[in-house]
């Protein structure tokens, strides 16, 4: 499972992505717990509910179940155009 970071999320993680090989999270909720552990600064942004998640390049609701081959992305509100 690959987790990709965009925009200022990368300033917190200091990298573009993480790869989880074992014990991968089964839901977005579990993923958040996992990432809060790795990057405590993310916790306040999860609480504020401002970040968006995509699974395999599609926006998702939180109750979707995650698979080991998924590409997950975490990013702040967009500002294109």
């Amino acid at each position: 499972m690959r987790i990709r970071y965009f925009a200022w999320i990368k300033d917190i993680t200091n990298k573009d992505d993480d790869v989880i090989d074992i014990n991968h999270p089964k839901t977005i909720q579990e993923l958040k717990k996992y990432l809060e552990n790795l990057y405590p600064e993310l916790r306040k942004h999860f609480l504020q509910d401002v970040l968006r998640f995509a699974v395999n390049q599609e926006y998702v609701s939180e109750n979707l179940s995650l698979n080991p081959i998924d590409e997950i992305a975490i990013f702040p509100p967009v500002s294109g155009g």
Binding site: A7, Q57, A73, P76, G80, G81
Partner: protein, 138 residues
């Protein structure tokens, strides 16, 4: 057609390329977004525009398909740039081609609204002393 690219583009050439494919086009509405010299009351030096490219293609295709379902369109073109963009540079082009003008106006505005809301691009705006990640208003 969707293009995500670093380099600048020429409006006449890009629009002409599509127009030349269809002699039944009577109307074309396009929107161009530019880097402004002033934002958040600060002088802008440049933008760094980040993209999640694979997802941007998917999202823009969805938006384009929704526009094609809602209006009678002959063709559409979206070009979105990324990377370092200076003040006055073009950021985005959305162009909608139809027989009659109302379809092209409505579709162009619709695509811009959803692009601003959902397409995974992020503007990191650099001022003379600091920088800021922008967020589009809802």
């Amino acid at each position: 057609m969707i293009k995500i690219q670093k380099k600048n583009f020429n409006l006449e050439e890009e629009i002409d390329k599509i127009k030349n494919k269809h002699s039944d086009i009577g109307a074309q509405t396009s929107f161009v977004g530019y880097v402004r010299d002033l934002n958040n009351n600060k002088d802008v030096k440049y933008l760094n525009l980040e993209v999640y490219e694979e997802m941007a293609f998917k999202e823009l295709s969805k938006i384009e398909n929704n526009a094609l379902k809602k209006w009678s369109l002959i063709d559409t073109l979206i070009i979105h740039r990324y990377g370092k963009l200076n003040v006055n540079e073009k950021i985005v082009l959305v162009s909608c081609f139809s027989q009659h003008r109302k379809d092209s106006f409505n579709a162009c505005e619709f695509i811009m609204d959803y692009l601003k809301k959902d397409a995974p691009f992020w503007k990191n705006e650099f001022y003379y002393k600091d920088d800021e990640w922008l967020e589009n208003s809802k």
